[in-house]
């Protein structure tokens, strides 16, 4: 038998809840917090004082409300001071951002990623970009950690990238490499790009208030971040959501993962460019050029786009049947493909999926755009702070 939670646990829980609320909703008056968190006024006052003493929030008078009575003090997250580093390692570029409590991007750097670069080589590049940003940070700044979004299978325990087929990575210890650059007092969390983007859209994007969603992220490969019942579905080792490797054709094209007929061999960048007769090109611009050509009436490009759209709908129908989401978000290259071939995607989805599963599903593009990976990576880092605010800061 377990005893009830101790005073200390309750207080820690409440501090986390309050900080999470202002992190997600921005500046909030004490009166609103009282209602939203269901705590009494003096408790909110005490919690706010503790958080302010730790330098995580500040309190101030609100702007003119125009209403009668003494205005309630407004609690603001210390966005400029409390921050996390967010890294995004993509096929063609590396991005670094400093993101403040509250989710705002304070500063960012972007560099091209030489194809074929290893984790050991990438980490110093990222660290240098991060240091460039670090200079203007004031002395009392609090860095809560770093989050990394990477296209590949990430082992949850230590941030080892088991396999990043599109980048040619096998067992690359990116978490450890970045940790070594940042020093021992900055914890590093690594996540799959689709997972963290789903997390970001769920926290503060197109999927706020929606607890069953699938975020499909595409570049050269395709992956999904899946949230069911409000929880991120990561699987046993953290490798869940690799929907790009659902086998959709027994004798299909060979995939970079070693298998044959994976879904991404029908909807990924290579498939589209090959079908359009442009196998020698690569990158997002080349894909957009195919959509442009299709729009202008190039018959071969049109067929390529429609076929890829049909396959996209085919896979989404399977996912919708399995997970019954309310929302499917198309991110990265999948956004462009969805918008260019929505008629095929929708038609195939409606024709193939179970009517009960498909009747309430909404198809959307991301609200946060390409920033979702960075914002989501930062959310990973903030998660530890929000779980136990006073211990971390």
């Amino acid at each position: 038998m377990r005893a009830g939670p101790s005073q200390d646990e309750i207080r820690r829980q409440n501090l986390g809840a309050l900080l999470r609320y202002v992190h997600m909703h921005g500046a909030t008056s004490r009166a609103e917090l009282t209602t939203a968190l269901g705590l009494n006024r003096s408790t909110i006052g005490a919690l706010t004082t503790d958080l302010a003493a730790a330098g995580l929030v500040s309190e101030g008078a609100p702007k003119e409300t125009g209403r009668a009575g003494r205005p309630s003090l407004v609690v603001r997250p210390e966005s400029a001071r409390v921050h996390a580093y967010a890294y995004s390692i993509e096929v063609d570029r590396l991005r670094v951002a400093r993101i403040g409590l509250g989710g705002g991007v304070l500063d960012r750097r972007e560099l091209a990623r030489p194809r074929g670069i290893t984790a050991a080589d990438a980490a110093p590049l990222l660290a240098r970009a991060a240091r460039e940003m670090q200079q203007p940070v004031s002395a009392d700044a609090i860095c809560v950690g770093a989050g990394v979004a990477v296209c590949g299978l990430v082992r949850r325990d230590d941030g080892l990238v088991r396999l990043g087929p599109t980048m040619g990575w096998v067992d690359e210890p990116i978490g450890a490499a970045i940790g070594a650059e940042l020093g021992p007092d900055v914890p590093v969390v690594v996540g799959n790009v689709a997972d963290v983007a789903a997390f970001a859209e769920h926290t503060r994007g197109a999927a706020t208030g929606c607890d069953n969603l699938i975020y499909l992220y595409g570049d050269v490969g395709v992956g999904a971040g899946i949230i069911t019942g409000g929880r991120r579905l990561t699987g046993h080792g953290g490798y869940g959501g690799e929907v790009g490797h659902m086998v959709v054709r027994r004798d299909g094209t060979r995939c970079e993962c070693g298998s044959r007929g994976c879904w991404e061999t029908e909807i990924g960048e290579h498939a589209l460019l090959r079908a359009a007769g442009r196998s020698d090109a690569q990158g997002r611009d080349a894909v957009l050029a195919v959509f442009e050509a299709a729009d202008r009436g190039d018959a071969r490009a049109q067929t390529a786009v429609r076929t890829a759209g049909d396959w996209l709908g085919f896979g989404v129908a399977n996912l919708v049947n399995i997970f019954n989401p309310e929302l499917v978000i198309f991110g990265g290259a999948m956004r462009d493909l969805y918008l260019a071939a929505a008629a095929q995607v929708r038609s195939r989805l409606n024709a193939s999926a179970l009517p009960a599963c498909v009747e309430h599903v909404r198809l959307r593009t991301p609200k946060l755009g390409d920033d979702a990976a960075l914002i989501g990576a930062a959310e990973l880092a903030f998660d530890r702070l929000l779980a136990d605010p006073l211990d971390v800061s």
């Binding site: 197109a206 462009d336 260019a340 071939a341 008629a343 095929q344 929708r346 409606n350 009747e359 309430h360």
Partner: protein, 271 residues
């Protein structure tokens, strides 16, 4: 997904002299949803929109707004109800900046002078509410904007006035792929912010990308109003070109109207 339509039309008839353009048309638009209005050239889409916005008087039929019967005699009545239309040609003035365009003819005043700070703030808030990040300065002349940005400004102008129904006539017709994508996302966001959106388009891709319901007109008759989750591209093309598709659309006994030749393929509509 609310059950009562914000805008509902019943039994609308409209003739121009001997030509009957709309025949007993029913149409509804729901808050938070994009309703796509599709049909071949001459099916009556633009006429229907002009009836809704008060430009043409109707011969018969009733309008319900939020469940209450209303009468719309001129564009001002429609604007008073919160119905705004963005036409294909956008009607923006090239020589004015974004704020001036958004408030053209409805400027905010502060005593005798124009209240520029308030107008600029309202314009900025509206664009921010639509998550528009492509426009750099609000004091930029419209002549310096791209096609997609112009469309964005025209849509923002329609949203500014606390409008409840926004009707968009072919908003992506003249745009490239990247700009079409941005405008489609904007259209979707309008509905997700709670507006009732009516999208007129010939492009089936745009229709399927953002709509929740599809209403198909065929030779002045509303042949189907269906949910986008219940229909395929091929069925919509059949409804547009032949007025029926399987159990949907005109019943076969009603085919006496279409004596006007082959109802088979109309190549332009299939895109």
């Amino acid at each position: 997904m609310s059950a009562t339509p914000l805008l509902e039309l019943r039994g609308i008839d409209k003739s121009f002299g001997p030509v009957q353009v709309l025949r007993d048309v029913a149409f509804s638009a729901f808050p938070g949803q994009v309703t796509a209005l599709v049909g071949d050239n001459g099916a009556g889409k633009s006429t229907l929109v002009k009836c809704i916005s008060g430009i043409y008087p109707t011969d018969a039929g009733e309008f319900l707004f939020n469940g209450r019967p209303v009468s719309i005699h001129n564009p001002r009545d429609a604007a008073a109800l919160g119905i705004e239309v963005v036409y294909q040609d956008l009607a923006l003035c090239d020589n004015l900046d974004i704020v001036q365009n958004m408030f053209l003819g409805r400027e905010k005043r502060h005593g005798l002078v124009l209240d520029e700070p308030t107008m600029e703030q309202m314009a900025a808030d509206t664009l921010a509410g639509l998550s528009v990040r492509t426009v750099k300065s609000l004091r930029q002349q419209v002549s310096s904007l791209s096609g997609g940005q112009r469309q964005t400004v025209a849509i923002a102008k329609a949203v500014l006035w606390n409008s409840k129904v926004v009707i968009l006539d072919e908003p992506t017709a003249a745009l490239g792929v990247a700009q079409t994508a941005q405008v489609l996302e904007l259209v979707r966001r309008l509905a997700d912010n709670g507006l009732a959106v009516v999208l007129i388009s010939h492009n089936m891709n745009d229709v399927f990308a953002v709509s929740d319901r599809i209403a198909a007109l065929y030779l002045g008759q509303m042949v189907a109003e269906v949910k986008t989750t219940d229909i395929t591209h091929a069925q919509i093309v059949e409804l547009i070109t032949a007025g029926r598709s399987g159990a949907l659309g005109l019943s076969s006994g009603n085919g006496s109207n279409d004596t006007g030749g082959e109802p088979a393929a109309a190549p332009g509509a299939a895109r």
